[in-house]
Symmetry: C2
Subunit: 404 residues, 2 copies
Amino acid sequence: MIDTDGDVAPCLLPAGFRTAGVACGIKDDPTTLDLALFVADGPVAAAGVFTANRVCGAPVKVSRERVPGEDVRAVVINSGNANACTGARGIEDAKTMTAVVAEQIGCDPEAVLVCSTGVIGHYLPLELITSGIPRVAASLADSPEAFHAAARAMMTTDTVAKQSVHEATLAEGTCRVSGAAKGAAMIGPNMGTMLAVVMTDAVMTPGQVDTVLRTAVDASFNSISVEGHTSTSDTVLLLSGGAGPVVGGDGDLEAVAAAVTSVCRDLARAIVADAEGADHLVQIDVVGLRTREEAEVIARTVADDALVKTAITGNDPNWGRIVSCCGRTGVDLVEDDITLAINGTVIFREGVPVEYDQQAVSSAMRDEEQVVIALRFPFGESSTRFWTCDLTTEYVRLNSEYTT
Amino acid sequence: MIDTDGDVAPCLLPAGFRTAGVACGIKDDPTTLDLALFVADGPVAAAGVFTANRVCGAPVKVSRERVPGEDVRAVVINSGNANACTGARGIEDAKTMTAVVAEQIGCDPEAVLVCSTGVIGHYLPLELITSGIPRVAASLADSPEAFHAAARAMMTTDTVAKQSVHEATLAEGTCRVSGAAKGAAMIGPNMGTMLAVVMTDAVMTPGQVDTVLRTAVDASFNSISVEGHTSTSDTVLLLSGGAGPVVGGDGDLEAVAAAVTSVCRDLARAIVADAEGADHLVQIDVVGLRTREEAEVIARTVADDALVKTAITGNDPNWGRIVSCCGRTGVDLVEDDITLAINGTVIFREGVPVEYDQQAVSSAMRDEEQVVIALRFPFGESSTRFWTCDLTTEYVRLNSEYTT
């Protein structure tokens, strides 16, 4: 089950981590935070999951060479410029950012990871950033306020900072997992880049960090979609180590993985809920398939379908569009294999439309916290859970404004 | 090259074919045409291409058992009800339609093909249709007016009837190819069903008809997309035979195939141009790939991308979104392999943004007959051409109105 009531306050950092966010002038408004720094007091293990897009930003190319690693010290993030499609100069600029951070905190440049989000195809305003790095380093603190500032400095068109904290009890003691993310909201020439930094004081090997992160990402960031466009810069990083308990047997690893997954799910759902122009958060549950891949292709096809999304915008339990999505996935099925419920009301059972109270279902779609589309098949035990949002005129308006 | 100036007037039928369209009361307005009939005076060869959606309408299930065939006599089409997701009763209803037509024109029921388009999940108003069939049969004529009436009777939310006529010169003489289609426009609970009936008096074997149709569909109806949703009822039929020239050697077959392809392309482009809420017709040319499949996945990914579509709505030459689409296809490429032009102006060359007059390109997007996105790669000789439309607030409004 999903923990939909994850403890997202007071957003404490794990022991041994400090963060900061400052305004360095990349964005039009010089007071808007646009430079974030996440620092571990000593070397920690780190892993990353990066965009599958073959066209990827310079920071992705630089950071993915440095993880998994065991001597990572920091993550520096700027918003307002993605440093993507910027060629060899973009790579040099990204490396310069890590080198300047390394000077400030006293480590090897290779121990610093970097992310950028914002407009693509423009060179970084490097002087603004290198001038800002000493200031953001001087602001580092382990307070909730400092964590919030870092989360805000990552934002592009997000309307709220996205943070989550969960704890896990291991054999040696309790560890904390704290994460911040920025979302898939998009406007103008920005891509919908998704960035997340998750930190824990639990002590793991780089291999354990990598395993835990991949498990968590599959069940969270890889199970959301706003419009199905994988951006050039998507990055999720997990930093693990310091003063907390050492992860021992399998029970420990599972406990940490559960906490990291909970943090990632909170952040992923917050990204969908904050997608531009979105009126409805939509959860898609698909059960009874032969393989996880079958369940995922069905969930993703429904999630990305413009006809399903616009029906949800109108609170319309338009089952024909959903059933037709199932048929066009290529999964071996016919309509008699499909049972569909919306917010708990079955409206199509094994190929036959069911009499139901359309007005009641429409009202539930409008009023409940989220729209739940449940698809059941008779083939096996594989299932998935996926989140998306609706497609509104506001989304189109925001994304079609002339901005180049 | 595409024949964008295909001779679509005066929309004559081929020799040996008669058509009609009447109102039989399926639609709310009892005067709106909703029953079309296409009849060959004698048995003709026929082939069909049907939706790849595994959830498909009863008429698809009935008709695809009857083609390719060499004794086909008629196609009956109703609009206003798709007869999809209607179980065994739906199959019986579709067969009844063909049987009643067969009685009227004097043939075996198996010689009649059937299509339905409209709302899904409702049983056909069979009595209205069986009462209408004698009237539509009595109206059959070989006039341009009768052809136009049949084209109109297929329409759901199309705003214009879609017809095209081309001729081909064979060794034995000239043949005519005439087609009618209804489009992917969609509203309310309708799926965006695409139907087309193409007729020619050229005499071919069923195998030749099948080959010609598949070639034509690949370069036309399979190269368009409004929102990427393959409907439950998509059907394209080609009827061939009668008094025209017999298709002899390869030159003849190529000439007929070219004419059928031209008709199908005219109809396909007309469908995209008439898509609901569309402001821009978009042509996507992809050249220089290793395989046709690579070119197609790139074209389709760009065509179906909500961010690209909304940028076009705003006349915004937002190259970052297009380049990023190329990267997320899974095709083996990096940004240095990509060169992009919009309406003839190169704006991204081999990975490097090009200085260009943004205002001029934006004006061209707004003012020219279509937006042309040209993507060039250095890998090989394979290419494709694809058409789509933009994504507007009007599309969202039309598709999100509560209609269940």
